[in-house]
């Protein structure tokens, strides 16, 4: 993966999408294979895994905000406790990041007082604040009500456009089409097909991918429509 790449991973449930993401930051240590971050094997001996994880952001399907902390403290706790920022500095930085996801008004609210979309934007801000080399998104919109998906996708589009390196597990094909540098179709734990969005939306090779995309279409409408939605959001 290169700097600034946005890879979209999709595939049927149980195909290993989330597991793959968790292998990348060693929350699920992989059985086989290696992960290199800027040339460093993160499975190697003597690697400080916590330091590595602080450079790999993660956004979760169910947001996983720390429920006893306000939005701003969710964002600043990593800065303070992992990066060792002084309190004031962490707070200022956290507020700036919250601004970038348009959540500064809600800075002092607790997660339970926020909507799903707002929670997820705080979740994204929490990952962004650490200034990671790459951010992993694990189905960031699939637990959201349809009308809340747009605000989260918008934030993700902004981040992608700003040149952030992202690995995104999602079935939002509009998003994939707009920003993915490569799409990867997983099934049963292996890569079934990979290619550009252009490739997948015009001439997917494998039958499995064809069927899957068709099903997504049936569920969410054609990708042309989705693209329009994402264009509008841009």
């Amino acid at each position: 993966m290169e700097e600034g790449d946005v890879k979209v991973i999709f595939g049927p449930s149980g195909s290993g999408k989330s597991t793959l993401l968790r292998c990348i930051n060693m929350l699920n240590p992989p059985d086989k294979g290696e992960v290199y971050l800027r040339g460093q094997n993160i499975k190697g001996d003597g690697v400080n895994l916590n330091q590595i994880r602080s450079r790999i952001g993660m956004v979760f399907q169910h947001f996983n905000l720390f429920s006893h902390l306000t939005a701003i403290n969710n964002v600043s706790i990593g800065l303070r406790r992992v990066k060792g920022f002084p309190k004031e500095e962490a707070r200022n930085k956290a507020l700036n990041v919250l601004k970038s996801v348009k959540m500064e008004k809600w800075a002092d609210h607790y997660p339970a007082q926020l909507s799903g979309g707002q929670q997820q934007r705080v979740g994204i801000a929490r990952a962004l604040a650490m200034e990671p080399d790459v951010i992993l998104f694990d189905e960031p919109t699939s637990a959201l009500d349809p009308e809340l998906i747009g605000e989260v996708l918008q934030v993700m589009l902004d981040i992608a456009k700003s040149g952030t390196t992202m690995v995104v597990v999602t079935h939002e094909m509009g998003f994939a089409r707009a920003v993915a540098s490569e799409m990867i179709f997983l099934g049963n734990g292996i890569i079934l097909e990979r290619g550009t969005p252009q490739h997948f939306f015009t001439s997917p090779k494998s039958d499995r991918a064809k069927t899957f995309l068709k099903q997504l279409q049936m569920l969410y409408g054609s990708h042309e429509q989705l693209l329009k939605i994402s264009d509008k959001e841009e």
Binding site: F66, G78, Y110, A112
Partner: protein, 249 residues
């Protein structure tokens, strides 16, 4: 007294309350035991729960065995065991006292805060309560869930820091309603110390009942004292729960 007929109820109450100095010193001892047992049980229980939940194979086994033994055997047996163990091992058990005296309404009240027996009582109650408290804590650690800790680790927090900063603040808030059970049970458990001769409220009540023959009245008064204390503790914990509640939850 013995040959007196039915004494009148009011007189009986007055007679029993005439022993207020005994009731007071017994009450102080009971509260003293309760306080220490609760504190020891809290910290040891929390440690046991953390070991059991996060301690890995060896520590979690040790914690589990400890909890099962303490919960599975009678408190009275534990108390007598710890009381007689040093004696049967011929360990030197010194006669020592740490006591407080004060005069109130012309009555001199002496309270033995710490001696061999009281120490055994405090430790046994604390060690026993820890096993029960540990399970309350474990339940609330489980209810916080592993996702929160995993998320903390995903931003680069070491596991221990994640437990301390993310899991514990949530678990300790959540545990209050369940934990209030232990806080309400424990004062009543303390009465077993009577069997090793600690002069707690129950022991004093026995003496008062023996002297006055007003058995029912004495124990009703003792029961009322427990009822009031436990109600206050429950109310206090309710307030604590409301005050520390996470907004929106």
């Amino acid at each position: 007294m013995i040959f007196q007929g039915q004494p009148n109820l009011f007189e009986e109450i007055i007679t029993v309350l005439g022993f207020w100095d005994r009731l007071l010193s017994g009450f102080i001892i009971t509260m003293w035991l309760y306080m220490w047992a609760l504190i020891i049980g809290f910290f040891l229980g929390l440690m046991l729960a953390l070991f059991r939940q996060y301690g890995g194979m060896i520590l979690s086994r040790i914690a589990t065995v400890y909890i099962e033994i303490m919960r599975g055997t009678p408190l009275l047996v534990q108390l007598l065991f710890f009381y007689f163990l040093p004696l049967s091992l011929n360990l030197p058990v010194g006669v020592w006292n740490f006591q407080a005296s004060f005069t109130l309404f012309d009555k001199e009240i002496t309270i033995i805060l710490l001696n061999q027996r009281t120490l055994v009582a405090i430790l046994t109650l604390g060690l026993n309560s820890a096993a029960y408290q540990a399970e309350y804590f474990r339940g609330s650690l489980l209810s916080v869930g592993s996702e929160q800790l995993m998320t903390a680790q995903s931003i680069g927090m070491p596991r221990i820091a994640g437990i301390r900063l993310i899991v514990l603040p949530q678990a300790l808030r959540r545990v209050i309603p369940a934990w209030s059970n232990e806080a309400a049970y424990l004062p009543k458990y303390t009465v077993v110390v009577y069997f090793i001769g600690v002069l707690d409220l129950f022991a004093q009540a026995y003496i008062i009942a023996f002297v006055t023959f007003s058995v029912i009245i004495t124990y009703i008064i003792v029961a009322m004292i427990f009822l009031i204390v436990i109600s206050l503790v429950s109310k206090g914990l309710d307030i604590l729960y409301e005050r520390t509640k996470i907004p929106g939850l």
